[in-house]
């Protein structure tokens, strides 16, 4: 992944990844996972956006956790933004994609808040 434009070429969520990871788990568990993801993810996104882009352990952890959770759910745009964010922050790049993260997170939230979007694809 090289730039934010590449990220926007991806699907917002890869539903197959979600169902693969949660394979065999009951639908209510899958629903609870999505809800938990949105709630907890909100906190990590807020933590990242509130930081001043100094790549200390706290920001590293928040970015890493958001990335890992997003991988589990299949939120591949957020995964890619987190990866780009990690690369840029490590390189001391000031352009830290905060706007892109905030925007993509809202897009994902809207999509996931409509459970039918996920479960009708199953």
């Amino acid at each position: 992944m090289k730039s934010i434009d590449d990220v926007r070429g991806l699907e917002i969520i890869d539903i197959n990844t979600f169902f693969y990871n949660y394979e065999g788990l009951p639908p209510e568990v899958q629903r609870a996972a999505l809800s938990s993801f949105l709630h907890e993810g909100d906190e990590f996104v807020k933590e990242i956006l509130d930081s001043v882009n100094i790549f200390d352990n706290e920001l590293e952890r928040a970015t890493h956790s958001l990335k890992t959770m997003s991988k589990l759910i299949g939120a591949i745009r957020i995964v890619s933004i987190c990866e780009l964010l990690e690369q840029k922050l490590r390189a001391g790049d000031d352009d830290v994609l905060n706007q892109a993260l905030a925007y993509e997170w809202e897009v994902l939230k809207k999509l996931l808040e409509n459970e039918n979007f996920i479960f009708k694809h199953k």
Binding site: N21, A32, E40, R61, T68
Partner: protein
């Protein structure tokens, strides 16, 4: 019997006879939930989850845990520290229980630590539920004779570097073999390494070891300044620390001028002097003023970090592989 999720340490620590107690430690709730639900269908498994290092320790102190799944990167702690303490026999459980390390990123040094502590399996995130279940079943069936707790204690006491598991990657890239003899590190730099604000680029070099060593030292001093300023309310030595940073930069300039005389053709000098001069213009002394404005302090540190990273960037610093030290 179905699993029971407990995320606070209960007073009653018993488990049903014949049940296996699995402890899940991950500071991401979603992961705890996923693992808990994944293991729930396995018969005779009781599961406890926590995202907190000390709560995990309380469970381990009070319960006979049969298997632990631990995330490597916990908040304010390393999961490997917990694994190490299990192997040292510090808890109620057997020291040789299967330990599965769960991680999103796995670095070389972390794998070396896992090998040193005979970690049963490393689960790379994310994992499919069925795979996790299979790996846990396999780990529970395994009957491996591990070394004694004293052996693991000896690793800790003889390998100071290996002991430092908490994200010290900026400074410790290649760990020595786990059994290598090394004195215990009581170096105060440990706390700074854990909270590195600027990571030293291990794979880059100016081509002059005299310069590298000094640049690394300033990096350390800046990390220390950042760490102390952010973590301590009173920082009485801040003026002295800032003065030391200034002196260390002057020292680099002095040494670089000497090296320039015998290596005048090298193109790095002008850039190095320019970058150090730019960095020196930052008013580090403002950190010593009594300001409670965190935002301002963070902004200042941001400038420090980005300007110092410019000093440490190409072409002053080059890939080590492509250029031998002169």
């Amino acid at each position: 019997m179905e699993g029971k999720q407990v995320d606070v340490v209960p007073q009653e620590q018993g488990k049903s006879h014949g049940d296996k107690l699995v402890l899940i430690v991950d500071d991401v709730n979603l992961m705890c939930h996923f693992l808990y639900e994944t293991l729930k269908p396995i018969p005779n498994i009781e599961t406890r989850t926590t995202g907190d290092f000390s709560a995990a320790e309380s469970i381990l102190v009070n319960s006979q845990v049969d298997l632990a799944i631990i995330d490597i990167h916990l908040k304010n702690a390393s999961g490997l520290t917990l694994a190490k303490k299990i192997r040292e026999g510090r808890y109620l459980c057997r020291h040789d229980i299967p330990i599965l390390i769960f991680s999103g990123n796995t670095y070389k040094k972390e794998i070396q630590m896992c090998l040193a502590y005979d970690i049963s399996d490393i689960l790379a995130k994310p994992l499919n539920a069925g795979t996790v279940r299979a790996r846990v079943r396999k780990a529970l069936k395994r009957n491996v004779q591990l070394k004694s707790p004293d052996y693991y204690k000896a690793i800790v006491s003889t390998s100071g570097e290996a002991y430092k598991t908490e994200f010290a990657g900026a400074f410790v890239k290649n760990l020595p073999p786990p059994t290598a003899k090394k004195r215990i590190s009581t170096n105060p730099t440990d706390e700074v390494k854990k909270h590195s604000f600027i990571k030293w680029p291990e794979d880059l070099s100016s081509g002059y070891h005299q310069i590298d060593r000094r640049l690394k030292h300033v990096t350390y001093l800046l990390n220390m300044l950042h760490h102390r300023k952010r973590t301590t309310e009173k920082y009485p030595n801040i003026v002295e620390d800032i003065k030391n940073i200034r002196l260390a930069i002057d020292d680099i300039l002095y040494v670089a001028k000497g090296l320039k005389q015998s290596n005048a053709a090298d193109s790095i000098w002008r850039l190095l002097f320019q970058r150090l001069s730019d960095f020196s213009k930052i008013k580090l002394e403002t950190f010593a003023t009594k300001t409670s404005n965190t935002h301002y302090v963070n902004k200042q540190f941001k400038e420090v970090r980005s300007k110092w990273l410019i000093v440490l960037s190409k072409p002053v610093m080059k890939e080590v592989q492509s250029e031998k030290h002169r």
